[in-house]
Symmetry: C2
Subunit: 386 residues, 2 copies
């Protein structure tokens, strides 16, 4: 019923890693794909031209933040988020649930939805499975997420089970609301019907049977795609990988799989190896603003004194505009003087680096050499100690 | 002796406003010209590509800041400031005197030079007429300024006279040092001789006879260009314009005239009218970071509530990339959420606006219609009240 918007082009012969294609309302996206985060309708310190130049075809934005500021009235009047921020390619939005749990100073969860206070001005708001679909429709999200209950590492089975009960209940209602939203022609100026895709979210914390139950519900709901939530929430890397492998193995292979909140080369390659198609994280952009940059020889701190007289790029093998133009000595100077240009250039480099890494991973999958590619990359990356 | 690096192409038939051409080591610059300020080897929130796209052919940087951080050792090792910051066009540097007087927590002025403490780490340093020339040679400045003593509005005649005595004494020594620097081939890797131009600075505070005496010394020193310093230091606009007219009228017409520290449309047009060729100021870039933007209908505050649903550009007549792409509603949202992109876009617009204004002024001069152009621009600009 969801149409063939996603297709697996090739699965690596030695592991579940796969290369795919997604046809979305704002153009084709190849997978695996890393999505930069544009919380407030901007990927911090980048223009949309920068993002296009790097080659991104989809970015993520946050429903919670946009709903509170500038509000759906403003973005609706702008004709949607694409038009508001002038990004012509695809946008995935989360449901806002995660931010309600991590940012709001108060929240009350009931079957109906979640009531919370804004972290900005303390005002009261409610998110329900239904209005979250509506909000994301107003945003014009190419991929939208169901409202879910995300739980931290270390909670009890009972708590995890109750959170899962709500997530499953909300999935059904989200699906109905989304089908209604999709079928109704937009009220405003007779625009086309909403064509964004809904993704279910698998929860279940760190309990295998709950994960299995959740995966079954998600698959049964037959949404266009499925996200794996509630990972990378404080657990150790082996636990993360274990639960990722387990959950991914339970999902229907013909649907895209999205893991939320991972953004280091190790985690990304680990997820790709386990058959994950999509991921996002603020890490590469946030860490850039703190002067931390990726390189093939490991992550690197611009402010290091040893960079004072280094007239070479962050990464000699990187083809990005920053590495082709600027020296570590200059970038260190910009960091020490707290210049905005440092955030601009370091962010551009980090995003380019991850985009490039994922593209390389895709080529490796297509040629059945993902595992040796990963091994070789991580050896250099860990040995690095730049 | 200074060669014909500057030529007046045309003087308006109705006022001293003039259009000229400067041939500098990093290419031709037409005048009048506004120079954006790149204090720490970067114009804040702009890439050098942004500056090139706008059309700037010369920017200003600050000797005081660069001398303290990253230091001449680093910039020298980079092969000069152009190479360090990757700006291939011209750079004018000030002498550092102004910052010593405005930023340093301690200073002691003697005939020899000025001893001061760094505002960054409290370390002790000295600037002399001679070492300031040498530092600017290491930077590779296309235009460098003599060390001078800049005085504030409201000091006594005696204080102004003493400051002028030092400025005049230091001009002679700067000239000798510059001639030596210019004639000696660079020590490092046999590069070409230093070809940067030295500008004398006219001081004299707000005393006509001191201004006249200083203008005479500056003209007598026969440096390639002459700056008018010590204006826009706290005095009212009519006093500024009065002293600007008076000082400019005393200067040899065949040399470029530079007024330091002016950056609003009114002040720039007022200076052009009085025969000034060059100006710089942090105002357009600093004010942009506070959400203030220029428009043909007057300066404008992005954060205004009335912008919430304004899906139109800052200035409909502006041809800049920001006005052609982004709405006031979006820019207001970026300002309210304190996004770096707001500083990037507002700065780009303000610099484009001033560059465009000065280019329009030049065309008006060439066609002997500068005064009606100025009148018309300022009428719309002041009436504005956007």
């Amino acid at each position: 019923m969801t149409g063939a918007f996603f297709a697996v082009a090739h699965t690596d012969s030695a592991c579940p890693a796969r290369a795919g294609i997604m046809d979305l309302p704002h153009g084709r996206v190849t997978t695996p794909v890393f999505m930069p985060v544009g919380t407030n309708a901007t990927v911090k310190a980048q223009t949309v031209d920068d993002l296009e130049r790097i080659g991104f075809r989809i970015i993520l934005s946050n429903t919670y933040h946009l709903y509170l500021r500038p509000g759906t009235e403003v973005i609706g009047a702008a004709g949607g988020l694409h038009n508001f921020m002038r990004w012509d390619r695809n946008i995935l939005t989360d449901s806002g649930g995660f931010q309600v749990f991590s940012l709001a100073p108060m929240r009350k969860i009931q079957d109906e939805g979640v009531r919370f206070r804004s972290h900005i001005d303390g005002s009261y708001h409610s998110l329900t499975p239904e209005n979250v679909v509506e909000i994301q429709k107003v945003l014009g999200s190419d991929i939208q997420m169901q409202l879910d209950v995300c739980t931290p590492w270390g909670i009890s089975y009972k708590e995890a089970e109750e959170a899962l009960r709500l997530t499953t209940l909300w999935l059904k209602r989200a699906k109905s609301a989304w089908e209604k939203a999709r079928d109704s022609v937009s009220d405003t100026n007779g625009a086309d019907a909403y064509r964004g895709k809904l993704f279910a979210i698998v929860q279940g914390n760190f309990f295998r049977d709950l994960r299995a139950r959740s995966a079954e519900s998600a698959a049964g709901a037959d949404t266009p795609g499925i996200a794996i939530g509630g990972l990378s929430v404080g657990e150790e890397e082996p636990v993360f990988l274990d639960y990722l492998s387990y959950t991914a193995s339970l999902l229907p292979p013909e649907k895209p799989r999205y893991v939320m909140g991972i953004g280091t080369p190790q985690y990304i390659l680990g997820a790709i190896e386990r058959g994950i198609d999509m991921f996002d994280c603020v890490f590469p952009t946030r860490t850039a603003r703190n002067g931390h940059v990726f390189s093939r020889r490991g992550p690197y701190n611009l402010k290091k004194a040893e960079n004072r007289l280094k007239f070479e790029p962050i990464d000699k093998e990187c083809g990005c505009g920053v590495c082709r133009k600027y020296s570590l000595a200059y970038l260190r100077h910009l960091f020490k003087t707290q210049e905005i240009l440092c955030s601009m250039l370091a962010t551009y480099h980090n995003l380019y680096f991850l985009h490039d890494l994922v593209e390389e991973a895709r080529r490796a999958i297509m040629e059945d050499r993902f595992l040796p590619f990963k091994k070789s990359f991580l050896e250099t990356y860990s040995e690095g100690n730049r």
